[in-house]
């Protein structure tokens, strides 16, 4: 198991200093949300490319901060960016092999652990008489 402090050392994404760092990052295989980003397990296969060690900014904050960064916590994690037909909110699909882990990191939300499986990474939309994607 990995603590937030260990993940910060390994991946370089710091979290706001009022958030605890001496706690283990829960590694989950069910649905979870990190702010306006949702991780939803799916049953379909989404072959992708190896997730780079530096991660993929799945949602980039306007000012450079507030980026949701998807990181490989082990070997074999792949990322398939969204393709036409995936739906407006889908950012891509991450595949975590047996025994592996991926992390979603954000300065205000700390780290979320994603266990083995295939997941749709999607963002939130807001409704104001019609649906539109949330601007972070």
């Amino acid at each position: 198991m990995t603590t937030v402090a260990e993940a910060i050392t390994r991946h370089g994404v710091a979290v706001h200093d009022h958030l605890p760092t001496d706690v283990e990052i829960p590694v989950l295989t069910g649905p979870q949300c990190q702010g306006d980003v949702a991780v939803l397990p799916v049953t379909t296969v989404h072959p992708g490319q190896p997730l780079p060690a530096g991660g993929v900014p799945v949602v980039r904050g306007e000012a450079g901060g507030n980026t949701h960064l998807l990181l490989p916590g082990s070997k074999g994690v792949t990322w398939a960016p969204a393709v036409d037909g995936d739906g407006d909110l889908v950012l891509g699909h991450v595949t975590v092999p047996a025994g592996g882990v991926a992390y979603l990191a954000h300065p205000e939300h700390s780290y979320s652990g994603i266990g083995p499986g295939v997941y749709r990474i999607g963002r939130q939309r807001e409704w104001a008489g019609e649906w539109r994607v949330v601007a972070d």
Binding site: H16, A63, E126, W127
Partner: protein, 472 residues
Amino acid sequence: MRPTKPYSFDDHPEHKAQLDAWRDRWIANAMSTAPADQPKMRAAMAGLYRAANLTPPDHVVFVRSPLTAAIAGTIAAGVWWLREHPSEHVALFGRRVSEAELVAAIGPACRRAVEVGLATLRGEPVPAAEPVATRAATDAATYAATYAATDAATRAATYAATYAATDAATRAATRAATDAATRAATRAATDAATYDATYAATRAATYAATDAATYAATDAATRDATRDATRAAAAPSPVVTFFIRCTTHWWRMHNGGSDWSAWPAFLSFFRHIAGLNLPEYERWRHYEDAAIHGASRIMHTRFWVVSDRHTEVHVDPQRRLHREDGPARAWGDGWAVWYWHGVRVPRDLIEGDGWTPARILTEPNAEIRRCAIERMGWDAFVPAAGLTEVARCPDPGNPGQEIALYDLPATLEDLYDEPARILLCTNGSVERDGTRRRFGLPVPAHHHDPIAAAAEMYDMPAAAYAQLQRRT
């Protein structure tokens, strides 16, 4: 020499690589708070007149804001037109008007246009006019007789005259000789892809915050001043009214200068980076200079007025005008506008404590009402306004927290295009001070279940959302 094959980025990847920097340079030009560079602007303005084979005017004026430029420029145009068309005076005013009367009407016209314009932009009631003092300058009996006798026909004639007075010829001539010619030449010499990359990107980043905002503010200020001046109860002297009516035609004499950075961004890229060397550049360079060294300008054969840029401008991440504690855009002479995420709102909605729930509920404009609620926060507004709870349940993955759905009262049913309910949520992560941020989100009114409403925001099945293991 004009190239036979249109310029294309396919042939010049080294130019294409400089697009982003060029776009950003012009975005910075639009958003800059630097005042007009007066010596350079004088040269650019003289160049624009000469490019159109016009004599640069003797009367040149620098002001601090596009609103002052618009009001001063249009009233000045009205003065010059009445001077040059004495034969029109009888049709307009029932008699010849002396030079002394013309000059005497300028002050009251400017004062009233500014007074009403400022109140309009602040969202405050228009202060009462001072009809006695201003009407004393003219014969009140003649004015009343003229007004009663001519009615609608005179109004039409007045409209035509004020329209003519703010003659767009100077702007049209200089623009045709410089900008329009260069646009046509550039579009002819380049392919369509180059257009999107510079013009569209610069415009997207700056239009709402600069050009559209200036237009909306000036339009609102001059329209309300004109409406006020032509109301029988408030009408000052007919000459003053004539001048104030001229202000609504400001846009015919107006060029946005730095506010209109998108076209120069596109055109100048080919002049400076792609090296097209079009013959049109010899004239257009003055237009480019005028877009760099100053903001709005009003051009007339007799005079020009050039404005400084805004002294401050604040935008949200979507580059819409937005500021939560003061004017989103302000100019050096006191003109200012207040915006909430791109919506122009009254000053007291933004400054101080904002509006009370009672004040919010009596605001007739649904969009402004929505802004006022967002300013207060739905989490505060829902209990304060006594919204009715529809359902409440534990927030999945967010231990100890709940999500709740509320009905909008009948007075707020017009807030969104489709019927809505409000979902109150609590953040999964704590703030620095140990509290959790609460916020309300509108959702379609067909929802009865808070879980289903929250799930739809992520386009996720309600059953999956109910199984959420963690929310941070």
